[in-house]
Symmetry: D4
């Protein structure tokens, strides 16, 4: 594809990392496999690394044909090509990524692997939903020392409220579309997190592990000596 | 008012207590003060005691003029006239009524006072929302020994999920319309309770402390030696 | 799978039965077949019996390969492995499970078979919706003698209101997603049950037969001499 | 007001009765008292009788000053001026107007008095909601002989389903905005009636007793020897 | 299948036609093909004719194997077996079935063929939506002489309002789920019809051509000399 | 108020007319009367004319004290001070403003008077809703010669569909919050207009007569010889 | 197919172009391939050119068999047969079609190709969403000189607000169903555009590129010397 | 009030500041004036300073009588008594609080004054909505140097998307309930912010300026040498 062909489908924003901290990352879901492959190839050629979210196996097949180094993270539905944006020091501040249940892992892994790719540290705390709240307390040291905490939960989305009442770092809540009927595609968890009684909890879009990673990145970047971005 | 006048506004169901365990109780909110007074007077004349929910001061004023023994419980918005339906033994099973915040007290008192009027024991646990979850744990003995637990919460409605993971008796969750915007009149708490990850939680209508009392009554009645109803 | 591998996807809560009356039960719908098989195997190894809800044939295929004793209940979408948690005495109190129409059977069977697995008695009353309300009256003896009544209905969800006006035991209503357009995935039945005019009806999530079973279990457990759980 | 002044606010449709069976009737709610008075006066001058719905006491005050014969029906919020459109024979087919609870009387009276004004027969059956369904059965003769049945109910709106399973005449269901929180302004009753399991029930707008009367009028008109309209 | 097997899935209501005018008709959509076949066979054996709505080709395949006389109406998704319930006289009152667009034909045919099966007369007026309102006027004679008018429309559902302003017989509006995004599964047409400015329009569930036929049947039955039902 | 005081509540955009065709116009509804008065005074001082929408009598009282030339248009809830932005030639293209019912006049007058203030021609067609569609046809000449047509309707919002099928100029539909319950604050009319079957209809916000005027202004400006703006 | 067969599925409106500016265009989505083919063939035979929107490959296969000249535009899901309605002069006013992201291309191409088919000029501006707002500014000359601007955006739908604050021509906003969970099928973008703070933005249905083209056509037609329609 | 009286309405959480960074702050809206006064007095007695949000003048009147040092911030609806929690150094990192319009000031001031009370630095940028986006660019230096940015907007809530594309610090978006009809109580802005195309934006509840302050506090606390809390 020539660049003029690319122009008919996209206006790439190569300056985005300088301005807002992260380079352009491709949202694959509503794009054809060809579109995703073309945009990833252009970003990879320009910057040496690229990432797509919400990629299906069909997307990956076409991307992989064009970019043999591309890797597919199937649970998280990510395609990456190239190295992380930076290499974290193992003593740096880290993000704790807490997930309420096994069913929420696809979303929490989208978050964790995106943060890996941006080059920041992550610690995972898995399956500690409020129906067995002692499991959360067992992990409280890891939580308390985190620089930012991402909490992923479906159903009623109650976990961020409990976490928020126990630690003082920034908390980013991610509602998921997991649950019986009245979850309504994530609405129950979304409303639950927005109305959390513990003050200072912020929320991103339903199932949007990527958005949580980007928000955590904005916080972590200020806390390390040499951030990857201007 | 003659009985034929009453017939134009109501068909009283004097047999309801025999069939379904509770006598007819008057929902005042959409009725005129005159209608409420007439229906309460008829029930009181027939059975010796009567109760109305969602009564405003305007309702009470007219009722009180007709029935000087009527009492107004202003926080709970109840009007009662006459004694409780029975007298509980102080060793009987009791209902624990747990309320997440001071703002939920109007609803939890509607529940507690209705149960008082039906003649069953109540223990109150107040302001133990999940943002300070240790407060709930401090009351856990009272919770564990309850025969039924009513949990009243607004905002995200997370408290029943935590309670449900810690005790094994029946749990009745009551969502309230308390909270900033995305509470949407109680919708956030309602959906949160319906999708609670702790299994076996049941839910009643928004702000419906009366409904929770009626449901608790159905459970308690089976556990005492001499229930008030057939 | 080693236990450390299991740790990456789940934090099992082996103490849950002691605390809240039921052991951990697996919600299969948002999990991969491998995840479900690994968690069921761990629970089965620890406790000798395990259950998963919302399991597809694809889930069962992988589970069955790992646990040859696993059984698939296709209408109810349950996978069980191992015996029930206890053996009920045939004179014990029982749950009546009432279903409005044949279309609601998948949900009512999820409830009935889950209660079977927990070891409590069940009596089924099938296809007695309010369009032919005499069918309900024909079963009224079975209803009146029940210790708890689960009512499963789609469309307008009116059946619990009628049942609630005729019997005095606890009533758990389960809305289903059955019906032409304005059922909106179970919303019509859900709202109908929450606003039921018969007092004391409680509601669980849409299509959540399992949740109703867990709620019925909380009630039945108090009424039998030797419950299965602490 | 001169007719040219009237033209700036309204284009009256004097031919409506010939075309569609009912003359123009004024919806007062979103109009100023002056507008309502002007339009009623014009209709009254032209046809000798006029009706307004959803009229407040403020509307009536201005109307009454202009049209001293105007009458206010406060529960139903109707203003009428002039005689009914026709005089029914007392053996004619009639509409049964069934109302689930005393709280629904404002809406059912809007329906009944509108039909009175159109000159058709009405029989009222009041406060026979499904929580005491035997009350409905007591009135079944009146129902079975009706030419059309209007059923007014709030909360879960279950009454039309039960009625629809027992009689064969046309049924018009009117949802009302009566009930605790999850009634959501009549939505629960509306959805319940639209998804009623008894076939052949039709529904009008929330709290729209007038609309039900107009629909019943379309049916009754075909069944009488000398209808009022072409 | 023995009758005791049938009892485990259904409680047939053979008396329904006497009570409410139509026999039991099978809603196939949430039933398995086996369930539909068993119920149709039982109804057919008892009464000599039977009908199922919302039947898929998979349903039909199993039904046809059991009942070789069964016929599939694919656009309307109906399965019938046996003759109509009665034979109309060609001078009897008829239902006009008006459909706004070709896309609404599946729903309007569900209505028309159901009325055919009940044995009442139908006249079809097709593709006369309000974007070319003169097409409706061209059919106005057929409309004016109808005893009842069913109007089927998707998108904004405006057609019943226009029809309602021009004719005086009963009007049953059927919203369909046809249209670009903000149709929201029929919600736009449903709300449009409920709020129609022409008085006396009644509404049935989204895409529910069957429900409209049942409602029309309730009206037509009163207007013919020898109805099929008591 | 000094300009530095004004800076604490507003950053005025004096260049807006050059860029986007209209000067800044004040939305009063969520502002205090003082804020509205200060902003209007600043705009009036700078440009010689100013306008506020959604102004209450309380807003006007404070504005009038500060700006004695201010005029209140009570039905339309507008406050203007100073002359129109330009003077139209009486042969210029005009906007037809069509309103479905008298109840919609407040919104259609907000539109008409805003266009008056911008200096473009307006012709009003009032109370021609689809329940009496012949009234619209009587005004069809005025419609056909319009350069742009604004159609204001509540309830089902059907009028734009009919208009859109008969004329070819740009059509701007304005849904209003007028109607019985299922209008849901204008939602029924909004969805009806968005899904209109007549192609090429565009929609503005509920009750937003001002927005429709601004949209009409964007069209008219291109059709006159000397527009008021760059 | 004979014309009488066609009459059973459609009432074609051959006069539509004269009245409302565009001929009848076929909405394929809810029609069978046979229905689409028959209607397109009839329109093509009558007028020499025809267009269908929302056509799937299955629709095209049947259409192409009947009309070998038919062309499928797969991204835009259009089928056309025959030439454009007119040939634009290259100096004529044009529509700018602005699309926020690559994911919105299917909708913006539906708009662009429909306008091509109507014979009006189009300039495309692609992938200039507000996260990199400088990309929009780079295209501002093309925007400023446009006669009408169509803005297509999913997610939060913010682009029309920014465009609306910078240019003065008519703006038609098209919300798309692109985005993570809380896009809710386009609802977020739809509400965002309806409530845009820049005045004078109009909105069409979700994903309705065709509707935007029809609206743009109504505007462009007035600005060219020899429009294609009366 | 004795402490045992206080116990009947509240279980104060004096340890909250140590755990989660902020002391308990009183949500006044659903509490009676007496309840608010009692709780504020207890907190003030214990810690020397206290704050209530969503306080009405009626709340303040009772509080002021009990605590004469209490101050009412009427636009922000806050009541404070006692000094800020700490005193910031004027070179510390600060929060930029950006508000889209004058109508959003009540919410942005709730945020700013709460942060003032917690003792952190704030810079305000007022009335820079996207309809005049150059106003935002004029303030870009203040934005770029902020440690965290709170963006408050009603209507379509587009401002955070634009801000998010230009700066790299954490962004907290606050939707407000400001706007014409389809704002639906803040829903349009809420959904717009949740689906923002600029990555890494987080959202709090509608009109919840306090929640945004608490979230900003969690971030700022990590960036200063001597935070006020453990």
């Amino acid at each position: 594809m020539t660049s003029s062909q690319l122009d008919t489908i996209s206006t790439l924003d190569y300056d985005r990392q300088t301005r807002s901290g992260l380079p352009e990352i491709v949202y694959a879901e509503s794009k054809t496999p060809d579109q995703v492959a073309q945009i990833l190839a252009a970003l990879y050629a320009q910057t040496g690394t690229a990432l797509a979210t919400r990629a299906s196996p069909e997307h990956y097949e076409v991307v992989h044909a064009a970019l043999p180094d591309a890797i597919y993270h199937d649970l998280a539905r990510l395609v990456s090509v190239g190295p992380p944006l930076r290499q974290p020091d193992h003593t740096e501040p880290y993000a704790a990524i807490v997930c309420a249940g096994t069913s929420d892992l696809a979303v929490s892994e989208e978050c964790a692997l995106t943060l890996d790719w941006t080059g920041y540290r992550v610690k995972r705390i898995t399956d500690v939903g409020v129906a067995g709240i002692h499991r959360l307390f067992a992990a409280e040291d890891t939580l308390r020392q985190a620089a930012v905490c991402v909490v992923v939960a479906g159903m009623e989305g109650a976990l961020p409220s409990v976490v928020g009442g126990r630690i003082s770092c920034p908390i980013i809540a991610v509602p998921t579309s997991v649950g019986y009927g009245a979850n309504f595609g994530g609405l129950s968890a979304l409303l639950g997190m927005l109305t959390a009684c513990a003050p200072g909890i912020t929320v991103v879009n339903i199932d949007n592990g990527f958005g949580a990673a980007a928000a955590a990145h904005r916080i972590l970047k200020q806390l390390v000596a040499t951030p990857s971005t201007a």
